[in-house]
């Protein structure tokens, strides 16, 4: 079965919007983190779709590099979150307002 390109790109846009929704709605840092992963996945999906329809694999190399980047981002980000939690005992971003005033 050949998946139509538009379906893939619309699905990618939908996943991206769900990720944005998570970032805007939730106040828990870890949920926001997961939403960022969702958005990265959406972009990867679009890249793979275009790679399939242009019929060359350059897009998949990009996806591979983006995945590596996501792994690096998760490791550093979670280290930051754990350090933050150790210092301030919270994961609610509304209480992380040290630099606000």
């Amino acid at each position: 079965m050949v998946v139509p390109l538009e379906h893939v790109i619309i699905l990618s846009g939908l996943l991206f919007s769900i990720g944005v929704m998570g970032v805007l709605f939730r106040r828990n840092v870890i949920i926001i983190f997961m939403s960022i992963e969702l958005m990265l996945n959406a972009v990867n999906l679009a890249l793979v779709g275009f790679s399939r329809y242009h019929n060359n694999v350059d897009g998949q190399v990009f996806v591979f590099l983006v995945m590596t980047l996501a792994a690096a981002e998760v490791s550093v980000g979670l280290a930051i979150i754990v350090a933050l939690f150790r210092n301030r005992q919270t994961v609610n971003i509304n209480e992380m307002n040290l630099m606000k005033n």
């Binding site: 079965m1 929704m21 997961m34 969702l38 999906l45």
Partner: protein, 163 residues
């Protein structure tokens, strides 16, 4: 058509669990839903003949990133109050912004004339990706390895206790 039904089931799995990630009250449920969403995306990669990327998706995202996120949950929540909900503050404005973003993307996608025709069958993509990584994209590949090293050292330094 069997493949059609499977495709729409995979799409429903991906989108449904993505919604669950965002809207679930319980953090652990969110993480498990994220697992299914990643699996769904891997299935979509298979539908687009990207076999290597689908395998990488499962190994890196499901095997690595998700486990790390669950570790993060365990380290930052007191297990007794697992349902730290913190649901929402600006659900109204946020909903409007999200709807606008999605409608904009949708209009742009459906309004553009796409001229590509997919070739029904492709052989495995592994050798193509390998050649591109080792020849054309060698510099980004090496830079990525330096980035990973820096991330490793940064994570170790940040999560060290004390001083």
């Amino acid at each position: 058509m069997g493949a059609d039904i499977i495709f729409w089931m995979v799409v429903a799995l991906t989108v449904g669990s993505a919604f669950l990630v965002v809207l679930s009250q319980n953090l652990i449920y969110s993480a498990i839903a994220l697992l299914f969403s990643f699996m769904g995306v891997a299935g979509l990669y298979i539908f687009m003949m990207a076999d290597f990327i689908a395998a990488t998706q499962i190994v890196i995202y499901v095997g690595g990133i998700l486990v790390l996120i669950i570790f993060g949950i365990m380290l930052t929540q007191r297990i007794r109050d697992v349902r730290i909900s913190h649901t929402s503050m600006q659900r109204g404005i946020g909903g409007v912004v999200v709807t606008l973003i999605f409608l904009g993307l949708f209009r742009m996608i459906t309004g553009s004339p796409w001229h590509f025709e997919a070739i029904p069958e492709v052989e495995g993509t592994v050798s193509g990706i390998g050649k591109l990584l080792m020849v054309e994209y060698l510099l980004p590949f090496e830079v990525t390895s330096v980035l990973l090293l820096a991330a490793l050292m940064g994570a170790a330094m940040l999560s060290r206790r004390g001083d």
